[in-house]
């Protein structure tokens, strides 16, 4: 009986020690779990906050690169923290070894656990039990691992607070943008910032608001897209363009703004750049007469807010009535110049539209220069054969336009102004290139007199 009582006492002591080790194991595992969860969440939350914030301030490519880097880093950190948590997961043996090391118990606990779980209890087992129990205070849970909350939890809280602030402001900003976007959804506007049409007077101002019907704008957008597609060279360029589109879509989804479109340069020209390419019977070499036919950049159907002051400058954009209709390349007309539906447009005032009297158109065509603006481009519907271009006269011109679809007036950043390429306007019919004067012939009657003078 006494043996049984003593054995029970030994087992009771063993239970005390093992329960203390189990409590330590629970705390260690709790800390490991907290570490894995909080480090992973902090990394993901921090990365998300930075990505959202950067969507408002960075360009598409930079934003995409940063988002990829941060996402990769967050995933790697989360994976690493999970792996580390798994590695730090403790068994009773591990917890005992940790307690041995931290309390300098020289392997007493590890031996106790190891022997309990399958080892051989020798004659020294009671001695080991008593020896270990006498040092019970040294391996108390609060002494071995005093922390209940893992340190990454505080980092997570800080990250969560910062992320909440970022998300709050981002949400507000997004709602504002969405509201502005929905308000302007019915009105299609085209902001051609930096439009520069030579040879207009630069003093006329560089900001010209171009309004047009949605169909025209759609055609313009399609044309711009075609032009953009045509500007992609090679798989790398395609990849970059696709990446930019993806990033732009993502940014717009986050910020609520319209997708960012890069500035495009349009070059509006007459059909023929060179006089030698002019077909007989085509439009006269006047500024306003030739555009529209086959010129993919000519735009029709709009109106200019510049008024008549811009008429001369805008005249090259205007299409003749015959050619001002939507051309085969899609775009037709801009600023209402030469539009058949806008006879009072400035361009029509300067030039001769289809409603203009024949004599006016004829005179204008014959007069050349500024009077020829808007003279029309359909020689077949006018008055006979078009006048062949005079030698040295200019029959075409080039116009560079930097156009961009406006984003409801809330564009994040105006497209960078790039000066248009230099356009060499050809001479008109009344202009001659500089050339030396030819020596005048000496009259035969005066020839003897002049010879005498020089012989003296």
């Amino acid at each position: 009986m006494s043996f049984g009582t003593q054995g029970d006492r030994v087992e009771e002591k063993l239970r005390l020690i093992l329960s203390q080790i189990s409590a330590l194991r629970v705390r260690l595992n709790s800390l490991a779990l907290q570490y894995g969860v909080f480090v992973g969440l902090a990394a993901i939350l921090g990365a998300a906050a930075i990505i959202v914030a950067s969507a408002f301030y960075l360009g598409p490519i930079t934003f995409l690169a940063l988002a990829l880097i941060l996402t990769t880093a967050a995933i790697a950190t989360a994976t690493g923290s999970a792996r580390r948590a798994i590695q730090a997961w403790s068994s009773d043996e591990t917890a005992a070894a940790i307690a041995d090391r931290r309390a300098e118990l020289k392997g007493r606990l590890a031996t106790m656990v190891g022997v309990t779980k399958g080892g051989t209890r020798t004659a020294l087992w009671p001695y080991l039990l008593e020896d270990t129990l006498s040092q019970r205070d040294q391996f108390a849970v609060s002494r071995i691992e005093p922390h209940r909350i893992s340190k990454p939890a505080y980092a997570f809280l800080a990250t969560a607070a910062i992320a909440a602030v970022v998300f709050y402001f981002a949400l507000q900003n997004r709602e504002q943008r969405l509201a502005a976007r929905s308000a302007s959804a019915s009105e299609a506007q085209m902001d051609i910032g930096g439009l520069d049409i030579r040879p207009a007077d630069p003093g006329d101002g560089q900001e010209a608001n171009i309004d047009a019907d949605p169909a025209t704008l759609e055609r313009l957008a399609r044309k711009l897209a075609e032009r953009r597609e045509a500007g992609r060279y090679g798989p790398a360029a395609h990849l970059m363009a696709d990446a930019r589109d993806v990033a732009s879509a993502l940014q717009s989804r986050i910020t609520g703004g319209k997708p960012h479109r890069p500035p495009l340069t349009l070059k509006l020209t007459d059909k023929g750049d060179d006089a030698s390419q002019q077909r007989p019977g085509s439009s006269p070499p006047s500024h306003g007469g030739a555009s529209g036919q086959g010129d993919s950049k000519s735009i029709a159907g709009g109106k200019s807010t510049r008024g008549s002051a811009d008429a001369k400058a805008a005249a090259p954009l205007g299409a003749a009535p015959g050619s001002g209709a939507p051309d085969k390349n899609g775009l037709a007309g801009l600023n209402g110049l030469g539009s058949p539906t806008a006879p009072n447009a400035p361009g029509n005032e300067a030039g001769a539209g289809p409603n203009a009297p024949p004599d006016v158109a004829d005179n204008d065509a014959g007069a050349g220069g500024g009077s020829m603006h808007g003279a029309g481009a359909d020689p077949n519907g006018l008055y006979g054969e078009a006048e062949p271009p005079a030698l040295g006269a200019s029959n075409s011109f080039g116009i560079a336009i930097q156009a961009q679809q406006a984003s409801d007036g809330q564009s994040d950043s105006s497209p960078a102004y790039s000066p248009p390429s230099k356009v060499n306007s050809r001479l008109n019919a009344n202009q001659y290139a500089d050339q030396p004067f030819e020596r005048a012939a000496i009259p035969a009657a005066d020839r003897v007199t002049i010879q005498r003078v020089f012989e003296r």
Binding site: E93, T94, A97, I98, D100, R101, K106, G107, R108, A110, T111, M112, V113, G114, V115, G118, G119, T120, R121, T122, A123, L124, W125, Y127, L128, D131
Partner: protein, 346 residues
């Protein structure tokens, strides 16, 4: 002292007895504390010791003093080139009986004792050196097909002179592996030398008192040896010792399975041709058990294993030519092994 006390010594008894033997030895032996501790550890762990030291460092004196302190029978063999195995183990001789008949009778050799000193063991031929193998490993001597058991405790101490290499025969690996520890006796420092001179040149030599009485000495020592085996070892510590032994083996050995997850030591890969045998792991654990008892514990720790590793593994590591050319010794390699394995502790 009653019989029960003899059979079941306590941890405190062990430490007290050990320290007392140490004190008696140090009455004669000045310095060499570590060598003495290793020698006694090997004794209580049931192993044997190889003592290496230059002449005059007290190798023979140490062994003789130990024999006196333990009050055990002691024999000394001076190994020479012409020493034969029968000179050690004993042989059968013709003896005339009282009735005039002559018959073969086994005449025990000097190995039949409790403590055997093999002085300058490397001067004997390998054949003679190998005569000790059976004694050390199996505590018996077989002559003419008849095995003669040795009386426990049986403790062999052999000395090596590292300087006079001419006319010597290096111990074969199998012989070296039989020694649990290899202790090194270094030259004493100045203060120790003064103490040696004053203790040995006076009219009276220091007297060593036996710790045990003559009759109970073998039983007491056997009981203490049994207590050492009672010390418990956690599986993690056994794994630690096994990992340390594996770390002494270069991965290039064909007959050794590639170590999976074992510590790789550059010094081992470069300088070791053969690592420790499993006897090395046994020596680590048994030596650690003695150290645990001396510390008042009934369990061993990784630190105990680390402490006995140099003595247990140095002579079991066979260095290659690169090590000799680079001036690398076994102690350096074992130190690197211990550092490497210690870094992988749980």
């Amino acid at each position: 002292m009653n019989q029960a006390a003899l059979e079941t010594p306590t941890v405190a008894d062990f430490a007290r007895t050990f320290r007392r033997i140490q004190a008696e030895i140090h009455k004669v032996i000045v310095g060499h504390e570590q060598a003495v501790e290793e020698m006694l550890s090997a004794l209580f762990a049931g192993g044997h010791v190889l003592i290496q030291g230059v002449p005059g460092t007290g190798k023979t004196t140490l062994v003789k003093t130990l024999g006196i302190a333990l009050n055990l029978s002691f024999n000394r063999i001076q190994f020479t080139v012409d020493l034969m195995p029968a000179d050690i183990t004993g042989t059968r001789v013709i003896i005339a009986s009282d009735d005039g008949r002559r018959e073969f009778s086994f005449q025990p050799g000097p190995v039949f004792c409790h403590i055997l000193l093999g002085d300058e063991i490397n001067r004997a031929t390998p054949k003679t050196q190998s005569a000790l193998l059976e004694c050390m490993a199996e505590l018996q001597v077989t002559v003419s097909g008849i095995s003669h058991p040795l009386e426990p405790p049986y403790f062999v101490m052999a000395t090596l002179n590292p300087i006079e290499m001419e006319g010597t025969y290096p111990l074969p690996e199998a012989q070296l592996d039989r020694f649990m520890f290899k202790a090194a006796l270094e030259y004493p420092d100045e203060r120790q030398l003064v103490r040696i001179v004053s203790a040995t040149t006076g009219p009276e030599e220091a007297g060593v008192e036996p710790v045990f009485t003559g009759s109970e000495a073998p039983a007491r020592i056997e009981a203490l040896k049994h207590l050492v085996r009672e010390v418990m070892v956690a599986p993690a510590i056994e794994l630690y010792a096994a990992r340390m032994v594996r770390a002494t083996q270069p991965a290039s050995l064909r007959h050794i399975a590639p170590p999976a997850g074992a510590a790789r030591v550059d010094a081992v890969e470069r300088y070791v041709s053969f690592g420790s045998s499993p006897r090395g792991a046994q020596a680590l654990i048994m030596g650690a058990k003695v150290r645990a008892l001396l510390d008042g514990r009934a369990n061993i720790s990784c630190d105990d294993v680390d402490l006995v590793a140099p003595a247990a593994l140095q002579h079991r590591v066979m260095l290659n030519y690169a090590a000799h050319s680079d001036g690398i010794d076994a102690a350096h390699v074992v130190e690197r092994v211990v550092q490497s394995v210690r870094a992988g502790r749980p």
